[in-house]
């Protein structure tokens, strides 16, 4: 059950990240166009999203169990990205906010810019916790040399056991043995 939930949350968080990134980029594009500012100035705002996407790709490629199977992390990531998506959605579609109408661009850039600080902080924190989880997994891993020694010991022990073990005789073998003894 927990594993199924984790798989589901992993899919949702990637989808939400892509949607949030898209909506944020769209909002910044409109805002910067209105202010006649170059879009390159929006890079610091999109940077945490790109970093988080890279972290997600690394998690997927290296099969980071500590992140992918962490229900707490996955739930938090989904919650954070849902909040970001909701804020971006309201900036575009909530026409009950009067600033939406003020600039005549059918978008509420002021509302988005009010929330950008919180959004950046949340996404950076999510990325940091992802990195911390990876470090934690690395630290709890035993050293390669120790693993090698343990492996060798286990192989030797296994070999000893194989030698000491008596061959298991099947019924057919037992019959042949009896016949030989009788003869």
């Amino acid at each position: 059950m927990k594993q199924v939930l984790n798989v589901l949350l992993n899919i949702i968080k990637v989808v939400l990240l892509l949607v949030a990134m898209g909506l944020m980029f769209y909002g910044l594009l409109i805002t910067y166009k209105r202010l006649s500012k170059p879009v390159t100035e929006a890079i610091p705002i999109l940077l945490p999203f790109v970093l988080l996407l890279i972290a997600f790709v690394i998690n997927f490629m290296t099969k980071q169990k500590i992140v992918n199977r962490n229900l707490f992390y996955n739930t938090t990531a989904v919650l954070v990205l849902a909040a970001v998506t909701f804020v971006c959605y309201r900036a575009k579609f909530d026409s009950n906010m009067m600033l939406y109408h003020k600039y005549g661009i059918n978008y509420n850039p002021s509302y988005l810019s009010d929330n950008i600080g919180t959004i950046k902080l949340l996404v950076y924190l999510l990325f940091t916790s992802n990195v911390f989880l990876m470090i934690s997994a690395k630290l709890s891993q035993p050293k390669k040399e120790i693993i090698k020694e343990v492996k060798e010991d286990l192989i030797v022990e296994h070999k000893d056991l194989e030698i000491k073990e008596e061959p298991v005789l099947e019924n057919r073998d037992l019959e042949i043995k009896e016949e030989t003894v009788n003869a």
Binding site: T76, L79, A83, N96, M97, M98, S129, F132, S136
Partner: protein, 231 residues
């Protein structure tokens, strides 16, 4: 040992960060849902206000008819006739703006967007076109004409401050409406105030419309007395 302690420290930090993230994201979602729900609040016009609206519409109709019926033929081809006819033309243009505003005065439900449009319409049409544009033209007629009507001059001077106050009031309403993009969780009392915002602002805008109409009405009545052509 050190590695183990460091690992545990990282685990605790990660958990703390995730808790903070969860709380902040939760707050952001709940506050936005709350704010979005509050903004969809619609105020339904009550009985007393419907009567006020009907009075306003009836007054606009009455004044338009009265102004159209005014005749200055008895002055012959004099400056006095041109003077009042020019004022009549300007006031007619004013009444056209008031006539257009009766659409808003017939609405049965008011939301934030209606209030914003109403306030914008007041600012552009009633204040911009009539109280500023046409009144400036009337002032020019008063100062440039050979015919002197001191009472008209006094009336125009007296209205200057009222017009300024009306515009300030409308600007304040617009700023309050624009400020509805910010939000926070509030106490019960503040919440009640927010729910009543549509009503309060609507009444304030309607009051501005009525005050402006009264100003124009005073001028029409004055020239009607002069022309002795009251209907």
């Amino acid at each position: 040992m050190l590695k183990k302690t460091f690992g545990e420290l990282i685990n605790i930090t990660t958990a703390a960060i995730l808790v903070i993230c969860m709380l902040m994201a939760g707050y952001l979602i709940f506050a936005n849902v709350y704010h979005s729900k509050e903004l969809t609040n619609v105020y339904l016009i009550r009985e007393g206000e419907i009567t006020k609206q009907q009075k306003y519409v009836a007054e606009v109709d009455k004044l338009t008819t009265k102004l159209a019926a005014l005749s200055f033929e008895k002055f012959g081809q004099t400056d006095k006739k041109i003077y009042y006819q020019m004022i009549q033309i300007d006031l007619n243009k004013c009444m056209e703006q008031f006539k257009a505003s009766t659409y808003y005065m017939n609405l049965q439900s008011i939301d934030a967007l209606t209030n914003y449009r109403l306030s914008n319409s007041f600012s552009n049409n009633i204040y911009g076109e009539c109280l500023r544009g046409q009144f400036m033209s009337i002032n020019n007629v008063i100062t440039e004409s050979i015919h002197k009507d001191e009472e008209m001059k006094t009336l125009m001077l007296a209205f200057d401050q009222t017009i300024l106050n009306i515009n300030n009031s409308n600007e304040l309403i617009r700023n309050i409406l624009i400020g509805n993009s910010t939000y926070s969780f509030t106490t019960f009392d503040t919440r009640m105030t927010l729910y009543n915002e549509n009503k309060i602002l609507y009444n304030a805008i309607a009051e501005n419309y009525n005050l402006s109409l009264n100003i124009v009405s005073s001028l029409i009545n004055h020239i009607a007395i002069v022309a002795e052509g009251e209907v």
